[in-house]
């Protein structure tokens, strides 16, 4: 082995507009656990243009080292320059493991890198561990639309790569005094035909940007809300509770709610303190995204709805009658 090579776990520290994506801090927490079992260090990869101010938070959340690559070509995410930079880092530092958030950036970038490096990549993992005896890296992910869980290994190639679902790992409590080595990584970016050109960036409206993964309380609606108007009473309930409105896939597909609020296999994984499911029957794909919530209340007129199988409190009844009265009762309690 190259004497400059120190065993490591690489974590892609995704940043957008000079903000670290929350899943990156979650990855650092998991990487520390893995690194402890492998007796190696956690290296965060920070790419962008003028992003040095983001180095300290990475140490605070668990990185031992940060490889910092700054270049105007990296200002906005594009597949090729990011792939080029990280593939070069991987070839130079030969990490054992490289993990990425399963965001729309991570899920674009990681396969391109895995293709270039020739290694295995497991998508959307919900659990990662090191097997005690063999030290194999065990990656667990849902398969068949969340009907089945699969544990996957990659015995003959390194680094073993994985993307990890946001919201499944608990972040560490940040240590503002933590510090470590910063490695500046210089690289040439030659714009060849694999480079795409960004013509424009259109931000989605602020109203659709509420992050349901950060909310402590979610009031979610499904097909049973019958239309966008149905979600208004859910918004009122969410407002008195200080929570956010979430949605099942059915309500998103029907155009009643924005995709950003979708919980489930093809939406987001959430684990709030309280999840109130209203008019949601409980498709397995939906439950895969919310069953880890601390406390689940389900309100549905169909007493056989599968959602009742995982609800802590199941209320069989009409959401349109119960929810407004519940909002009123909570408002009185809070007054």
């Amino acid at each position: 082995m190259d004497e400059n090579v120190v065993p490591s776990v690489f974590v892609f520290a995704e940043q957008v507009d000079n903000q670290i994506t929350p899943v990156s801090f979650e990855l650092l927490a998991k990487a520390r656990e893995l690194a402890a079992k492998l007796e190696c260090e956690v290296v965060a990869l920070l790419l962008g243009d003028k992003v040095e101010n983001l180095v300290q938070p990475l140490f605070s959340y668990g990185a031992n080292k940060v490889i910092l690559c700054e270049d105007p070509a990296l200002a906005q995410y594009r597949t090729e320059p990011y792939t080029h930079a990280i593939s070069t880092m991987i070839r130079q530092y030969k990490p054992q493991i490289a993990i990425f958030g399963a965001t729309s950036i991570g899920r674009d970038l990681a396969p391109r890198i895995a293709g270039r490096i020739h290694t295995g990549l497991t998508a959307d993992c919900t659990a990662l561990d090191i097997e005690d005896e063999t030290k194999r890296f065990m990656m667990t992910r849902p398969a068949f639309g969340g009907n089945l869980m699969a544990t996957i290994v990659c015995p003959e190639f390194q680094p073993v790569m994985a993307t990890v679902r946001p919201g499944v790992i608990v972040k560490r409590i940040p240590d503002p005094n933590a510090s470590g080595e910063v490695i500046r990584f210089e690289l040439d970016f030659v714009e060849n035909d694999c480079y795409t050109k960004i013509l424009d960036i259109i931000k989605k409206e602020a109203s659709t940007k509420h992050n349901i993964q950060d909310a402590k309380i979610l009031v979610a609606g499904g097909r049973g809300m019958k239309g966008p108007e149905g979600f208004e009473i859910l918004q009122e309930l969410a407002d008195v509770l200080g929570g956010e409105v979430a949605s099942s896939r059915a309500a998103v597909d029907a155009g009643w709610q924005d995709k950003a609020r979708q919980v489930g296999q093809t939406g987001k994984t959430v684990r709030p303190n309280l999840y109130i499911a209203c008019g949601i029957s409980g498709a397995i794909q939906h439950m895969a995204g919310m069953e880890e919530s601390d406390f689940i209340i389900a309100i549905n007129s169909d007493s056989t709805a599968p959602i009742f199988n995982i609800a802590d409190v199941g209320i069989v009844g009409d959401v349109f009658k119960i929810v407004p009265k519940l909002t009123e009762a909570i408002r009185k309690e809070r007054a």
Partner: protein
């Protein structure tokens, strides 16, 4: 313009059930369908064909029964269809699948490759970008709109909080979201034509210029060590009473949990 569309036959995962005794997947009676994101990719290809004139070539990999999705592609309007099928390709992970498909595509004359973002039986979204990498062409994933201007492709690419409008030179691979369009139905004439007048090109191991080390189970860096049914948490209490009592019950529970 030649457009290659990668389509996969998948079990309709909405219909998949778990055997409650054995804890295994019940595949029997589960319908096979064209993967929804792939169908959006095919629809996008057919619209570009209508707009500019193009040859639409559908490509699939899988067991022989996957011919059905190629027939469906013909019935929707695809011009040619190829099925990559051989036991030696079986058990492939995304790396081996993309190596095989990239080698198959390299036999074709292509300007644009379209694929679905991800398949509903795996949900990985990895095969598209990995094919592009093997072919050395750019890719744009998560496409919500696709436009062609001369030899360039302009794509509205979805992110969590924004869109990028991206431009790339052909040849390029684009992965489509099902939000991209509403795929057309097969026409009776199209169905007749698909079964009577169109031939599916069948490619087996020896037809694909790819190394043995990069195909099938052996060429797959990742291995599945175990699968198990998801354990669901135990249900709590379910009550069925009038509205006021229901509301009262919820409020009490929220107080117990210190939420109120």
């Amino acid at each position: 313009m030649n457009i290659v569309v990668c389509i996969k036959q998948v079990p309709d995962t909405k219909e998949v059930r778990i055997d409650p005794v054995k804890g295994t997947l019940i595949r029997q009676g589960v319908p096979s369908i064209m993967n929804p994101d792939d169908k959006a990719a095919l629809e996008a290809a057919l619209r570009l064909k209508e707009q500019f004139g193009a040859k639409v070539i559908a490509l699939s990999m899988g067991p022989l029964q996957a011919e059905l999705v190629l027939r469906e592609a013909f019935a929707m309007g695809a011009d040619e269809g190829y099925l990559v099928s051989d036991g030696k390709f079986g058990g492939a992970d995304t790396w081996a699948t993309s190596s095989t498909l990239a080698a198959a595509i390299s036999k074709l004359d292509y300007d644009l490759i379209l694929a679905g973002r991800q398949a509903i039986d795996g949900d990985t979204a990895q095969v598209g970008p990995e094919i592009a990498e093997h072919l050395g062409v750019p890719h744009i994933s998560y496409a919500e709109e696709i436009k062609v201007e001369g030899r360039e492709v302009i794509v509205k690419r979805q992110f969590e909080d924004r869109y990028q409008i991206l431009k790339a030179k052909m040849p390029v691979l684009v992965t489509a979201l099902s939000e991209l369009n509403q795929p057309r139905y097969m026409t009776p004439g199209g169905i007749f034509d698909a079964w009577r007048n169109k031939e599916i090109g069948r490619w087996s191991r020896d037809d694909i210029p790819v190394d043995d080390g990069n195909i099938g189970l052996k060429g797959s860096p990742t291995k599945v060590v175990q699968t198990y049914p998801k354990t669901m948490k135990q249900p709590g209490t379910k009550i069925e009473t009038d509205v006021d009592e229901s509301v009262q019950y919820i409020v009490e529970k929220l107080k117990e949990k210190y939420i109120l």
